[in-house]
Amino acid sequence: MNKIAFGQYYHTDSFIHRLDPRTKIISLILMMVFIFVIPKNQFVVLGFSVALLLAVVFLTKVPLIRYLKSLKQIMFLLIFSFFFQALFNNSGDLLLTINQNISIANIALGVVLIVLYLFFRKYLPLKFLWLILLVIAIIYIFQYPIIGQSLKSYQLKVYRDGVVTGFFIIVRIMLLIVFSSILTLTTKPTDLNNALEWLMRPLEWVKIPTSVLAMMISISLRFIPTLFLETERILKAQASRGVDFKEGKVKAKITQIISLLIPMFIISFKRAFDLADAMEARGYIPGAKRTKLALLKFGLSDYFVLIFALGIVIGLIVLRVNHAL
């Protein structure tokens, strides 16, 4: 039954794991502010934040591959934004000029390369490296008309500012993603939810029922694996009745999906009613003041982390306002 691991939580016993979830959320927000306040060209500050990140990652004792996995998903975005910046930002010193000639043979070769990439993408390890290679190969091909006349020629100019900005964007996004991963990898979903409930408390002043919202979130989290199992069961039951979700025309496809959706709706509603009854039987009243089993408590290390995070953010802002950076 427990083959479905929900969320990313990875259990180790580390300093970061033991921190209060509220501390982790607040520090994450502070670090996001920090990352965006870093001025351009300030490699020292950027280096400092990378070093800080690596230190925290090391402290979590979570295998590095976990963090790399979260980065993998945005590799395309990173590569795209770097090339975009590098090729189209026209300020600063000129670093490199590449002559580009468009001819029919060039276009054809480029298309062939792209098709080959799309076709073999599935089988390639380290996809993004191949994507970088593809872009470079296409730029290289377009330098000279291989066969025939050049239809049109232009120049790609790479400026220093473009490369620097591109680099900053990449590092910033990577920092953001890894910092967020630290939160989700080291905090259980229920703890996260409790912390969010606490952080949303001020909203009660404007009559937003935060405790009810938090209860809804924790119930949803609890039922995701259950509903997942139910879906699997219904899928198999309908497969036994000859549904093949891989084939069929559009009309058959619609019936197939309905044959999954309606039972799932009914099961969800039934579970919801049962749960509501069970909660009421145990005296749950929406919005009433409740005590908690797991009390959140700030410890010494929490204050230390919060003061440190707040300190570096304020320090950086003060430096920027005073034009010291």
Partner: protein, 287 residues
């Protein structure tokens, strides 16, 4: 022709050291058998039956289902396999979704390529088999009682006319009358159509009364595969499988131990017990 397991192993979690099914070799033929699969929770019963219509593919070994060799790498279509081997899941009432009972029962046959007209006649036939009256055919399945819904679900599989009918704990959640009716229905289907029925059950009375063959699973291994009487006669072994005796056999053993009435053969159904008691009591001069 039938379902033949050859050294089948399967694990849900590919990294787990202990497989859910462990080197299973087993034959199920289409010859009007009533097979019950026993075993405590987590012994792999549901996993085993899901291999019988290729919902799960074996990690090792091979399952031959009516001439089709299903191995780990099997990629072809499985529709006709699933037509031949009908599988009714636990709490099958949750798989209903159509507007009317009849339409829901027609869903299977239509998926297996029958026209609306043919599917409808098959559905009506199945309705009659499971005892769903005509007044229910046009009702929404969601307005029926639990027992009726289960009949609709079973009819939905029967309408595709499988050669082997497998039911995963079909009597769970039914009242005693509903339970008895369902089992008699399965028995009738077996006798009238010659289909092989395979059920997973925890109820020893069911096993003792209906089964022609018993398969016991323990930790993913087949530890018993044969007729029911030798199984229930060997108390030591029965206990090692974590299984109970049927009520009638328990009463008989109690009577024997107290030295009241002797039994040559354990009665496995209450009717047998009653007959034996009657004979003995009459012999002793009681009326």
């Amino acid at each position: 022709m039938g379902i033949n397991f050859r050294n089948v192993s399967f694990r849900y979690n590919k990294k787990a050291s202990k497989p859910t099914l462990d080197n299973i070799t087993l034959d199920i033929f289409k010859k009007s058998e009533f097979i019950t699969i026993l075993g405590h929770t987590g012994s792999g019963k549901s996993t085993l039956v899901q291999h019988m219509n290729a919902l799960l593919l074996p990690d090792e070994g091979e399952v031959e289902i009516f001439g089709k060799h299903i191995t780990k790498k099997y990629k072809d279509k499985l529709k006709d396999t699933r037509k031949k081997v009908g599988l009714v899941f636990q709490f099958p009432e949750y798989q209903l979704f159509e507007e009317t009972v009849l339409k829901d029962i027609m869903f299977g046959p239509k998926n297996f390529g029958l026209s609306d007209q043919e599917a409808k006649s098959k559905a009506i036939e199945a309705c009659k088999q499971v005892g769903l009256g005509e007044e229910l055919w046009t009702r929404s399945p969601f307005t029926l009682s639990g027992g009726q819904m289960r009949r609709v679900a079973i009819a939905g599989i029967l309408a595709s006319e499988p050669d082997v009918l497998i039911l995963d704990e079909p009597t769970v959640g039914l009242d005693p009358v509903g339970k008895k009716e369902l089992l008699n229905l399965l028995e009738d289907i077996r006798i009238n159509t010659g289909k092989t029925i395979v059920i997973i059950s925890h109820d020893m009375n069911v096993v003792a009364k209906h089964a022609t063959r018993v398969i016991v699973l323990n930790d993913g291994k087949v530890v018993y595969n044969g007729p029911k009487l030798p199984l229930f006669s060997d108390l030591e072994r029965l206990r090692s499988f974590n299984l109970d005796l049927p009520d009638s056999a328990r009463i008989a053993i109690e009577l024997k131990e107290k030295g009241l009435i002797d039994f040559d053969e354990l009665p496995l159904a209450l009717e047998e017990l009653r007959k034996h008691l009657k004979l003995n009591l009459q012999g002793a001069g009681y009326e």
